[in-house]
């Protein structure tokens, strides 16, 4: 019985939904250096882990780059095996017939430099010393990611992306693309993002980093060499982050004040525990089993340092006057980490810079996480926009 099931699962399209990209296999490539970073330091070489979905067309004009957010990686859609319980992180939006339609686009998703899912990062070996990089890994900026992504585009033969797409920190990379390589993208899709973090955002990130670094097992970041792991610190960091990605309303609807154990009756010794507590602990624990603490520190710092207009006299209009692509912006009403106000600032700057822009403020109770979740309006706007992108690219092919 079991064998038959396994055989069936192997045949294409049987085990997964029809609009899934199905089983995907990550690839990796090591780029020869020297690769100069924004901080001035140089990597002799670096590896990027990536996945692709769909087919690159003859003139290589239908490429879509997916930039990941803080804790994301290369596995954005589909499954790694028949037994995979969960698909890639943006599976709701990437696949046949989905907004980023793999029947039309060749989609590239990667694990950023500094990541901990196969790309070169703090948990990799420093070739110069033969030891793990750990805290000595150079600090990164969004522009370093953009430059490495451009090298990945070169490797794939993609001179111009049909679109560079990203949510949150991914949106920041997409915006940076529009300024660093104006000719290399037609469209820039920025979802639930901002031109820079607010003081409150930075405060949350700092608290998360403090949770990690004050864990006794952190060992100044040399935990891998010393065979320890600041699991608790990382779990707390993730819990803090997680709260900020949800909304008060969303949490309330999901958990309310429901108890998991104990009661409020007098004289009962059992500890009262709310459902939301155990949920957060579970999120934190599962994250700390799969993510590198130094990478978390590095990525949150990159977030903090991001300031789109810093080199343009702090004038976003001046910054965006370098952009040559068209923009789609989406925000979500209950997102307080990257509030709609932040997206409106981007829209205003783009309009003043005379850059084509479309902006939709989508009603959602799901907070910042809404950009990953099903939402009818979001899907429709996103799909309609990407449909035009595909039409534009195809018109050029036939012309």
């Amino acid at each position: 019985m079991r064998k038959i099931l396994t055989t069936e699962a192997r045949s294409p399209n049987s085990a997964f939904p029809a609009n899934s990209v199905g089983i995907v296999e990550p690839q990796s490539h090591t780029f020869p250096g020297p690769f100069k970073l924004a901080c001035g330091r140089v990597l002799d070489e670096y590896t990027l882990m990536y996945e692709t979905y769909g087919t690159l067309n003859a003139d290589k004009s239908n490429g879509v780059l997916i930039c990941h957010a803080l804790s994301g990686h290369h596995h954005a859609a589909g499954y790694h095996s028949e037994n995979d319980k969960r698909p890639g992180w943006w599976d709701h939006y990437i696949g046949p017939g989905k907004p980023i339609d793999t029947n039309k686009f060749f989609v590239v998703a990667l694990n950023n430099l500094g990541g901990c899912h196969g790309s070169t990062g703090p948990a990799s070996i420093n070739p110069a010393t033969g030891n793990v990089w750990g805290p000595d890994f150079p600090p990164l900026r969004a522009r370093d990611w953009v430059h490495s992504q451009a090298q990945l585009a070169d490797l794939l033969g993609i001179r111009q992306w049909a679109a560079v797409v990203g949510g949150s920190l991914g949106g920041m990379q997409a915006m940076r693309w529009s300024l660093e390589y104006p000719a290399r993208l037609r469209h820039c899709v920025v979802i639930a993002s901002a031109m820079k973090l607010s003081a409150q955002n930075i405060a949350f990130n700092e608290t998360a980093r403090q949770a990690i670094t004050s864990d006794p097992d952190f060992r100044d970041g040399r935990y891998l060499e010393e065979n320890t792991l600041p699991r608790h610190g990382l779990a707390v960091a993730r819990m803090i982050g997680h709260i900020t990605y949800l909304s008060d309303d969303g949490l309330g609807k999901k958990f309310g004040r429901e108890l998991r154990s104990g009661t409020f009756e007098q004289g009962v010794e059992e500890l009262v525990e709310f459902q939301v507590q155990s949920y957060l602990r579970h999120q934190g624990d599962s994250f700390s089993g799969s993510f590198d603490p130094n990478t978390y520190i590095l990525m949150t710092r990159a977030l903090d340092y991001f300031d789109l207009a810093r080199e343009y006299e702090d004038d976003p209009v001046k910054a965006f006057s370098h952009a040559r692509c068209k923009f789609l912006l989406v925000s979500f009403t209950s997102d307080w980490r990257f509030a709609p106000e932040r997206s409106r600032e981007i829209a205003d700057a783009l309009m003043h810079a005379n850059v084509p822009v479309t902006y939709a403020e989508v009603e959602s109770p799901m907070g910042h996480d809404a950009f990953l979740l099903p939402n009818e309006r979001y899907e429709k706007v996103f799909a309609a926009y990407m449909n035009n992108v595909a039409r534009e690219v195809n018109a050029e092919v036939t012309a």
């Binding site: 829209a347 309009m351 479309t358 939709a360």
Partner: protein, 197 residues
């Protein structure tokens, strides 16, 4: 709904200019202006369904509530600011027109004429608020909260020292089309004003 107003607006907008369309609806005017005048424009809209139509047509549309003002736009940052058939839906129409003339060098406004004979007839003889093709709402569910007539708008322009560059009246039916030239406030269905300061 008649969109004769859109043809006239296209005549008044300069080629290759920068246009902001307030309450742009499904983006029809911006499509027209882009095709006929190579106009570079943005539409502001609040209705998700209309925004969706704009996105499908490839029109630059930005979600924004006009009742919250245009403070996010710099002085004179557009050549022309347009608002078709939305004036009557605003909370403070006069403040929005002031803002339009700050943000744009010129503005073009169209609105339904509540002084038209049909509306007058309806109210006078049935004693009920008029419901027509142009104004297809009942009084309780209408987005229109500030109806005015041509004469009312003329008074508003004078009081605020807005200079009227052009004014025009359009009507759908042939009879009204002729009569509107003699008695615009009675026979005109839609008013189109081209203003500056």
């Amino acid at each position: 709904m008649t969109r004769k107003d859109l043809e006239i607006i296209a005549d008044w907008v300069a080629p290759n200019s920068r246009v902001l369309d307030l309450g742009c609806g499904d983006g029809e005017l911006l499509v027209r202006l882009a095709q006929q005048k190579q106009v570079n424009g943005y539409g502001l809209e609040i209705d998700p369904l209309q925004i969706q139509k704009c996105v499908e047509r490839g029109v630059n549309v930005v979600e924004q509530n006009l009742d919250k003002g245009l403070a996010n736009f710099a002085d004179q940052s557009f050549d022309t600011v347009v608002m078709t058939q939305a004036l009557q839906t605003l909370r403070f129409p006069h403040l929005v027109v002031e803002e339009m003339l700050r943000v744009g060098r010129e503005c073009i406004i169209t609105f339904p004429n509540f002084g038209q004979w049909k509306a007058r007839w309806h109210l006078a003889f049935s004693g009920r608020m008029p419901v027509s093709d142009l104004l297809p709402y009942e009084w309780y569910d209408t987005p229109n909260i500030h109806f005015c007539t041509f004469r009312d708008f003329e008074v508003l322009c004078r009081e605020h020292n807005w200079e009227v560059l052009h004014r025009q009246v359009v009507s759908e039916s042939a009879v009204s089309g002729v009569l509107k030239d003699f008695l615009p406030n009675l026979f005109g269905e839609t008013a189109i004003y081209h203003l500056t300061r």
